[in-house]
C-alpha cells in the first residue's frame, strides 16, 4: 500500500446487551477495493455505518485520509460517500432532481454540480427515465441511481453496503463494472460489504473475513484461498470460521 485511505483500529460497538463489534481493525490503501465478508449479523453494516459517521463507536480509532470523522465531521463527509444496503429514494422527486439535490450539497460551484449530475446520469444509465418520479422506478433502477448518486460526488472513499443486493445478474454486472471503472478513473478507494463471493472475487483487491464482530482473516482473494486451503472464497470463509455451515445457520 502506497498511501492509507482508511485506518480502522480496535473498533468496539454494543447495542443494549449485544456486542456487535469486538475490536475490529483493518486498513485500506489509496485506489484499493476492499471487501468485508461475513454472514448476517457479523458486524459488516455496523462497521460501515461507523466509518460513514452515522453511528459512534464505543471504543476505537478511525482515520479517513488522516482525518478524525468525529472531530472533522463535515470535512470527512465531503470526501466520503455511503450507499446503505436498504437505502430508499424520495418517492416524489424525479431521478434528475435527486441527483441535483445531492450534487448541490457536495459541489462548491454550480458548474461543479452540473458536472456531477452529468456524470451521475451517465453512470445510472437511466436515460429519459431520469425525468420520471422515482416512485415509478423498479428496484434495479433505484439501486443504479443510488450507486450513481454515491459515485458522482467523486468520493475519495466510497462505502458500499451490499451494492448489488436484490439485483438480477444483468444489473449486478452493470453495477460491478461501474464500481471498477470509477476506481480506475479516479484512483479512489472503495470499501464494500457483500454476501456474493463471486462479486467480491471479481471486484476486491483485498478481503477481510468478519464473524461475530471480529476480523478473522485479511488478505487478497488468492492469499485467503491458499491460507484456508480452499478452491474459492466461499469455501475459504467456511474453513476460516472453523465450523460447519449448519452451526452458523442454527
Amino acid at each position: 500500500m502506497t498511501e492509507t485511505a482508511l485506518i480502522v483500529e480496535n473498533l468496539w460497538k454494543s447495542y443494549d446487551q449485544v456486542t456487535a463489534l469486538k475490536g475490529v481493525s483493518f486498513e485500506i490503501g489509496k485506489g484499493e477495493i476492499f471487501g468485508l465478508i461475513g454472514p448476517n449479523g457479523a458486524g459488516k453494516t455496523t462497521t460501515l455505518r461507523i466509518i460513514a459517521g452515522i453511528l459512534h463507536p464505543d471504543k476505537g480509532v478511525i482515520r479517513i485520509y488522516g482525518k478524525d470523522p468525529k472531530r472533522d465531521e463535515v470535512e470527512v463527509k465531503r470526501i466520503i460517500s455511503y450507499l446503505p444496503e436498504d437505502a430508499g429514494v424520495y418517492r416524489f422527486l424525479k431521478g434528475i432532481e435527486f441527483l441535483h439535490f445531492l450534487a448541490e450539497i457536495y459541489a462548491e460551484t454550480s458548474e461543479e454540480a452540473e458536472k456531477m449530475v452529468e456524470y451521475g446520469s451517465r453512470i445510472s444509465g437511466l436515460g429519459e427515465r431520469l425525468w420520471d418520479p422515482m416512485k415509478s422506478y423498479s428496484k434495479g433502477m433505484k439501486r443504479r441511481l443510488l450507486l450513481a448518486s454515491t459515485l458522482m460526488t467523486r468520493p475519495k472513499l466510497a462505502i458500499l453496503d451490499e451494492p448489488t443486493s436484490g439485483l438480477d445478474v444483468y444489473h449486478s454486472v452493470l453495477m460491478r463494472k461501474a464500481i471498477k471503472n470509477y476506481v480506475k478513473e479516479t484512483g479512489a478507494s472503495v470499501l464494500l460489504s457483500s454476501h456474493n463471493m463471486l462479486e467480491v472475487e471479481y471486484l476486491c483487491d483485498r478481503v477481510a473475513f468478519i464473524d461475530k464482530g471480529q476480523i478473522i482473516a485479511i488478505g487478497t482473494p488468492e492469499e485467503l484461498k491458499q491460507q484456508f486451503n480452499a478452491s474459492n472464497l466461499e469455501e475459504a470463509f467456511i474453513n476460516a470460521v472453523g465450523g460447519e455451515v449448519e452451526e452458523h445457520v442454527a
Binding site: G53, K77, G88, V89, F101, I105, A113
Partner: protein, 436 residues
C-alpha cells in the same frame, strides 16, 4: 464561476418538494380545509335556508273552547291568530283535521282576564320535526296570545285610565345592565363579543394552527423513515443541526400555508352560511338579510395572538419532530401526533365549554404551563383582558418551551437510535422487561 445556493436552502427545497406532493399533507393540510369548509358551508347554507323556510311557515292554529260560548276576547284572539274556534270536538279529531297548534280555552279564561287576574291556558303543539326552530314555534304562539291579551287590557285602560300605558303594567321598570370589567364599563353585547373571542375564536385558531403543524412535522420524519432515506441524509456533508433547521423551516412554511387555507376556508364557510340565510330570508320576505354576527377581537389582542401563535407553532413543530422520530413509519407518526395533539388540546376543549383557565388552581396552572396550547390560550385571554404581565409571562414560558424541546430534538436527531431502530419508547420497554 456562478455562485452556489446555500445548503440550507437546497435542503428546505427538497423537504418542501417531498412534503407538498405527499397526499396526506396536500389534502390534510393544504387543500382539505378549503374543501371541507366549502362543503360544510354549502350544507350549512342549505340547512340555513331550510331553517328560515321552516321559521317562516305559519302554524295552523285551532281554538278548542270548552264550557259554553266563546266571548269577545276569545274571538279577538282567533281573529289575530287566524284560527277557527271549535267546541264539542276532541283534540285528536282537530289534529286529524290538519291543525298542529290547539289552544285549549274555557269560560274561566275570559272571566280572569276581564277581572284582571292572570289566566292559564294550554297549548298543544304537534311538531313536524325535532329541531330548534320547530320546537320554538309554540313560544311564538304563546307570545302572540300574551300580546293580544295585553292589547285587550290596553283598550280597557285607554277607556278608564287614559294616563297609564299598557307597557307600564307589563314591564314597570326596565333595567339596563352594564358590566364593570378591568376599569371599564361594558354593555352585555360588548362582553358577549369578548366571551366569543375567548371561548371560540382563540381555541379555534390554536387548534387550527398547532395541531396541523404537529401532524406535518411528525409526518416529515415518518416519510424519511418509511422511504429509508434517513441514513443517506445523515451522511451528507451538512451538520445534523442544518438538517433539523431545514425540516423545521419547511414544515413552518407548510403550516403557515395550512393556517391560511383554514382561514380562507372558515371565511368561505361563514359567507356560505350567511348567504344561505340571506337567500332564504329574501325568498320569504322579499328583502335582503344578513347573518348578523362577526367574530371580532381588539387589534392589540390580534397582534399578541399572532406572536403567541408563531411561538406555539414553533414549539408544536418541534414536538411533532420528536414524536415523529419515535415512530417507524408515516402511519405511526400520524397516530402518535394525533394522541399528543389531543392531549395538548384538552385545555382548549375546556375553553370551548366556557372554563376560564385563569380561575383554575395554582397546581393545575403549573401543569398547564407545560402545554403550549394552554399557554397560548392564556396569553390570548390575558391580552383581551389587559393583563400585560400574564402576556409577558406566557411569552417567556413559550420561549423556554421552544428552547427545551429544540434541545431534546437536537439530541434525538444526533442519536443513533434513529438509524438503529431503537427509539426511546422501545428502549424504555426493553429496560422495563429486563428489570422484571
Amino acid at each position: 464561476m456562478s455562485r452556489k445556493k446555500s445548503k440550507l436552502k437546497i435542503l428546505i427545497v427538497k423537504e418542501l418538494k417531498e412534503l407538498i406532493k405527499e397526499r396526506i399533507v396536500l389534502f390534510g393540510l393544504l387543500l382539505g380545509p378549503l374543501i371541507m369548509y366549502a362543503v360544510m358551508g354549502g350544507l350549512a347554507g342549505a340547512a340555513a335556508g331550510k331553517v328560515v323556510e321552516q321559521a317562516a311557515k305559519p302554524p295552523k292554529v285551532a281554538i278548542l273552547f270548552e264550557g259554553g260560548e266563546p266571548g269577545n276576547i276569545t274571538k279577538a284572539l282567533a281573529q289575530a291568530l287566524n284560527a277557527t274556534i271549535y267546541t264539542g270536538i276532541s283534540v285528536e279529531d282537530l289534529l286529524n283535521k290538519g291543525y298542529n297548534s290547539i289552544l285549549l280555552l274555557n269560560n274561566s279564561f275570559e272571566e280572569n282576564i276581564t277581572k284582571g287576574i292572570p289566566a292559564s291556558i294550554t297549548l298543544i303543539y304537534k311538531p313536524e320535526s325535532i329541531g330548534f326552530v320547530e320546537l320554538s314555534k309554540p313560544q311564538g304562539i304563546a307570545g302572540a296570545v300574551s300580546s293580544i291579551v295585553l292589547q285587550v287590557v290596553a283598550d280597557y285602560l285607554k277607556q278608564y285610565m287614559p294616563d297609564i300605558s299598557a307597557g307600564f303594567l307589563s314591564n314597570p321598570v326596565r333595567t339596563n345592565i352594564e358590566y364593570y370589567y378591568k376599569g371599564e364599563l361594558l354593555t352585555a353585547n360588548q362582553l358577549q363579543g369578548l366571551v366569543m373571542g375567548v371561548s371560540l375564536a382563540i381555541p379555534l385558531a390554536v387548534l387550527m394552527t398547532a395541531v396541523s403543524a404537529t401532524q406535518v412535522a411528525a409526518i416529515s420524519f415518518g416519510l424519511e423513515k418509511e422511504a429509508k432515506t434517513l441514513e443517506k441524509l445523515f451522511t451528507l456533508p451538512v451538520s445534523r443541526r442544518s438538517l433539523l433547521v431545514s425540516k423545521l423551516a419547511a414544515v413552518t412554511v407548510l403550516a403557515i400555508g395550512g393556517v391560511l387555507s383554514y382561514m380562507a376556508g372558515l371565511y368561505i364557510y361563514l359567507k356560505m352560511v350567511e348567504r344561505g340565510f340571506a337567500v332564504a330570508a329574501a325568498e320569504q320576505t322579499g328583502e335582503e338579510a344578513t347573518l348578523g354576527f362577526t367574530i371580532t377581537l381588539p387589534t392589540s389582542a390580534i397582534i399578541v395572538l399572532g406572536i403567541g401563535l408563531a411561538l406555539t407553532l414553533y414549539v408544536s413543530i418541534v414536538i411533532g419532530f420528536i414524536v415523529g422520530s419515535q415512530a417507524s413509519d408515516v402511519r405511526g407518526s400520524q397516530l402518535a401526533a394525533s394522541y399528543i395533539s389531543f392531549a395538548l388540546a384538552i385545555p382548549l376543549f375546556m375553553m370551548f365549554f366556557g372554563v376560564d383557565l385563569a380561575q383554575l388552581s395554582t397546581g393545575v396552572k403549573i401543569l398547564l404551563a407545560l402545554d403550549p396550547y394552554a399557554v397560548l390560550s392564556m396569553i390570548a385571554t390575558s391580552s383581551i383582558t389587559g393583563d400585560h404581565q400574564m402576556v409577558l409571562t406566557g411569552f417567556g414560558i413559550l420561549v423556554a418551551q421552544g428552547i427545551f424541546w429544540t434541545l431534546i430534538a437536537t439530541r434525538l436527531l444526533s442519536s443513533e437510535a434513529l438509524i438503529t431502530g431503537h427509539p426511546l419508547i422501545m428502549r424504555l420497554k426493553k429496560r422495563m422487561t429486563r428489570s422484571r
